[in-house]
């Protein structure tokens, strides 16, 4: 099972977890990652975060990322949800869930998908803070995290 969704609505981690857990008797490990809107360190707290994406292209890229994860690790199921639109502090932004027989596969695949989401998928973030709006720049640490997997090949 591979489930990919880009949506404005919030998501329910518990429901995603139960789907992954119940995929088969062979599931021994489920790893979930959830990203949340947080205060931006050193810049005070934000008012909102607006997520834009490139419809069509984003879905294609997410599918590629998940296909790559499935070819690199022994997975029983993946679920990826990325929200778009206007989000507030503490809102859920992104969910990645992976089910596998053994824990190393689930941990590594979830990290891989997140690293790629951060650096390869066509999302852009605009922050509103104190009446000002600015676009978030991508971080060098995210580029480095993504590069790590390329070096493994």
């Amino acid at each position: 099972m591979n489930s990919l969704r880009i949506q404005a609505e919030d998501f329910d981690l518990a429901a995603e977890y139960q789907s992954l857990r119940q995929l088969s008797l062979a599931v021994g490990a489920v790893v979930t990652f959830t990203g949340l809107v947080r205060d931006f360190e050193g810049q005070g707290s934000i008012d909102s975060l607006s997520l834009q994406h490139y419809p069509g292209m984003t879905e294609k890229l997410l599918q590629e990322i998940v296909d790559q994860a499935n070819s690199r690790w022994n997975l029983l199921g993946t679920s990826v949800i990325h929200r778009v639109g206007k989000l507030l502090p503490c809102d859920q932004i992104v969910f990645v869930g992976v089910a596998s027989q053994h824990r190393a596969d689930a941990f590594e695949a979830a990290q891989f998908v997140m690293d790629y989401l951060k650096t390869k998928a066509t999302f852009w973030k605009k922050v509103e803070q104190d009446g000002q709006q600015y676009w978030v720049e991508s971080k060098d640490s995210d580029q480095a995290a993504s590069q790590r997997w390329a070096n493994d090949d």
């Binding site: 490139y54 292209m57 999302f123 676009w135």
Partner: protein, 79 residues
């Protein structure tokens, strides 16, 4: 004619840009836009900006087919 899309911060500079344009490569589109919209032109020349045609990242010299969807993409920040 090809159709134009601008994402992220590029969208802020492209409010008055026409939705489609006559051009044979993304590089030519960039030159045509820079003439009429210098601020957008400067942004498009940033080395991190990528261009896609029909949702595939391509080089700036890619030949464009009639009706293509050409998108200008600043660095992504998902997750």
């Amino acid at each position: 004619m090809v159709n134009l899309l601008f994402f992220g911060r590029l969208g802020d500079f492209a409010a008055d840009v026409p939705a489609s344009i006559e051009a044979s490569t993304p590089a030519q589109i960039r030159e045509l836009l820079a003439a009429d919209f210098p601020a957008l032109g400067a942004e498009l020349h940033e080395p991190q900006v990528l261009v896609s045609v029909n949702q595939m990242i391509v080089s700036w010299n890619q030949k464009l087919a009639e009706g293509s969807e050409v998108a200008f993409l600043p660095p992504v920040t998902g997750g």
